[in-house]
Amino acid sequence: MSATASTTEFRALTRPQMAARLARDIPEGWYVNLGIGIPTQVADHVPLDREVIFHSENGVLGMGPAPAEDKIEPWLINAGKQYVTLRKGGSYVHHADSFAMIRGGHLDLCVLGGFQVAENGDLANWATSENDMAPAVGGAMDLAAGAKRLWVLMDHTTKDGTPKIVHRCSYPLTAVGTTRRVYTNLATLDITERGFVVLDMAPGLTFENLQARTDAPLHR
């Protein structure tokens, strides 16, 4: 998303900036699962000396950065089927044990992409009515329901400007009421009992301008 369609001057965050913004809020020692897509980029913005332990659904705990081209280990992939590395102290488990970590509430944080996030914390990120392919859910419902905290990282609106931050989701839900925070290219929003509370906004963006791009009331 760029600001070209906007009526005022502001700079929407780029994807690397969005990932970096979220990464800032992950403290050392957390166990974190990053969903496929933009969330995966978050790991690149956590400095290696801040020990955060990344989990992948396919039984990898303690993932490190992507390997150099000549250091690829063909048996070591993440849930997005990308080659990854394992940090010292990492471990491998089977799928049921891996999802026990997720479903048993052992992950401090899960970051997922989203189609819509509602002010009641509902997330829709797996199916849309426009999609005529067979539906696919992967581990999204397990992650969204199971982690201690669910943060969503996504654009604030669709490409045609339709708000993705909404009063109630119109797409099929991934989980009910579990989203705690949303990081978009325009703002960071906490979900509270009052609804969405703005923590920060893209440089130059006004509260009113953000509200105009949002389908739910925003609070300061």
Binding site: A96, M133, M141, D142, P172
Partner: protein
């Protein structure tokens, strides 16, 4: 002497019946029992229900099995892949059934089958379309869905090492669904990269004890191919 090692693919596949529920290991291209899937194609069983994470890539392996009309139903979490052409076209044409299951529920349903648990409750999918028709229940004020054990008639598993008692190890992320599928099935057939002597795998580090394994075929194919 117990010897679960078989010498031919025909011996590995012997007795798989039409109408079987077949659990197929692997996640991405890693830990996939490709040779056994080809063996199943050759063996001829039809009207199969296949439980697997992805519904096949391109036109080989599982995709070929489906393309040949041998699969009635797929139970999986992610029917898409880099090239899901066969599944997608069969699905659009109404020629294959899909039971979509969240990935963790899929794994836990197999674990439950292996552990003698006919049904359990989980938060996953509560309040979503994938809970439709399922029993819903509250525990301590939270809403849960009842899910049922998923038993296999046959599991096809890929291992890194195996011995004649059927003890297995897996390499890195090649473990994935393989151990729970081995537990969940009446007949567990393994292709293993390496055959080792009894006792070579340290007893503390056996990943799947031989009690869950029926047949082992040595298939030293090397690294997983790309995706």
């Amino acid at each position: 002497m117990i010897n679960k090692i078989v010498q031919s693919m025909a011996d590995a596949m012997a007795g798989i019946q039409d109408g079987s529920v077949v659990l197929i290991g692997g996640f991405g291209a890693v830990g996939q029992p490709n040779a056994l899937v080809d063996g199943l194609i050759e063996q001829g069983a039809r009207d199969l229900t296949v439980a697997v994470n992805n519904a096949g890539v391109g036109r080989v392996g599982l995709a070929r099995l489906m393309d040949l009309g041998r699969v009635r139903r797929v139970i999986c979490s992610f029917p898409r892949s880099s090239d899901p052409v066969v599944f997608e076209s069969l699905y659009r044409a109404g020629k294959i059934e899909l039971e979509l299951v969240p990935q963790g529920t899929l794994a836990e349903r197999m674990h439950a089958a292996g552990a003698g648990i006919p049904a359990f409750f989980t938060k996953t999918a509560a309040g979503t379309l994938l809970a439709a028709g399922k029993e819903i229940r509250e525990f301590e004020g939270e809403t849960y869905v009842m899910e049922k054990a998923l038993h296999g008639d046959v599991a096809l598993v890929e291992a890194w090492q195996a011995d004649r008692w059927g003890n297995l190890t897996y390499k890195q992320s090649g473990r994935n669904f393989n151990p729970v599928m081995a537990m969940a099935s009446r007949l567990t057939i393994v292709q293993s990269q390496h055959m080792v002597e009894l006792g070579d795998i340290p007893p503390e580090n056996v990943h799947t004890p031989g009690i869950f394994v029926d047949r082992v075929l040595h298939v030293p194919y090397g690294d997983p191919s790309g995706f």
